[in-house]
């Protein structure tokens, strides 16, 4: 099982903050997870546009080529604006 989480605009457009996604071998690629989620509907597609989307794998900002394994927490969010 993967834990999928969203924050800020991404969370608002998606309409929920987190859910579980049963792991499949093809989900070892972040792009496969993203396009699977984006195919849900137009809003999700918009929320998960790659441009400016940041990914954190297990709470660490990670590049798109990071390999995902069962049990990982994958977060999608816009550039951070704290401070």
């Amino acid at each position: 099982m993967l834990s999928i989480v969203f924050f800020a605009q991404t969370r608002e457009i998606i309409g929920q903050g987190e859910f579980s996604l049963p792991f499949k071998p093809e989900f070892s690629s972040l792009e496969a997870i993203r396009s699977h989620l984006a195919s849900t509907n137009d809003k999700w597609d918009l929320a998960l546009t790659r441009e400016k989307l940041i990914i954190a794998v297990n709470q660490e900002m990670s590049p798109w080529d990071t390999e995902i394994k069962d049990g990982d927490e994958v977060a999608f969010f816009p550039p951070v604006t704290g401070g």
Binding site: F7, Q59, A75, P79, V80, G83
Partner: protein
């Protein structure tokens, strides 16, 4: 010390904590503090309220990491980093960074490094209430540039 909290923080009390730092209190000749506050404007719009969201768990992890990085790069005491989340008003304090060192140059650099990295690496997001309603704050190019000047090759 790293804290993410909804409560306000007290500058005088935090200063006492820094200078009481256990490893070498009498050797620290320079203490620099940075406080970030909610401004009543942003990008030429009037701001009447602010809401701060974060990624619990990851936030503390990132703040600890940049704190460790600062201690590796400069001879400083353990920094104090406090960041508020939740609903804030113009004038409210958002973030506190306190750094002590034997000499001021290290303290200035480490403090600036910490806020530059916090602004680009710690998962906080601001939503502002302006004249035309709520909207998420855009990340600033200038913050990326400020952070990139601290990049190392290792």
């Amino acid at each position: 010390m790293i804290k993410v909290q909804t409560e306000d923080f007290d500058i005088g009390a935090l200063y006492q904590q820094i200078i009481a730092s256990e490893n070498n209190p009498l050797g620290y000749g320079a203490v620099i503090t940075f406080v970030g506050k909610v401004r009543d404007f942003n990008q030429e719009q009037t701001v009447s309220a602010l809401s701060l969201e974060h990624y619990p768990g990851m936030t503390e992890k990132v703040l600890n990491e940049i704190s460790q990085q600062a201690m590796q790069r400069w001879p400083i005491a353990q920094p104090i980093i406090i960041h508020r989340v939740g609903d804030l008003q113009p004038g409210d304090q958002i973030v506190y960074i306190g750094v002590a060192s034997a000499h001021r140059k290290a303290a200035f650099e480490a403090c600036e490094f910490l806020i530059d990295y916090l602004k680009t690496k710690a998962p906080f997001w601001k939503k502002e209430k302006a004249d035309d309603g709520y909207h998420w704050v855009d990340a600033r190019e200038s913050d990326q540039e400020a952070a990139s000047k601290w990049a190392t090759n290792d």
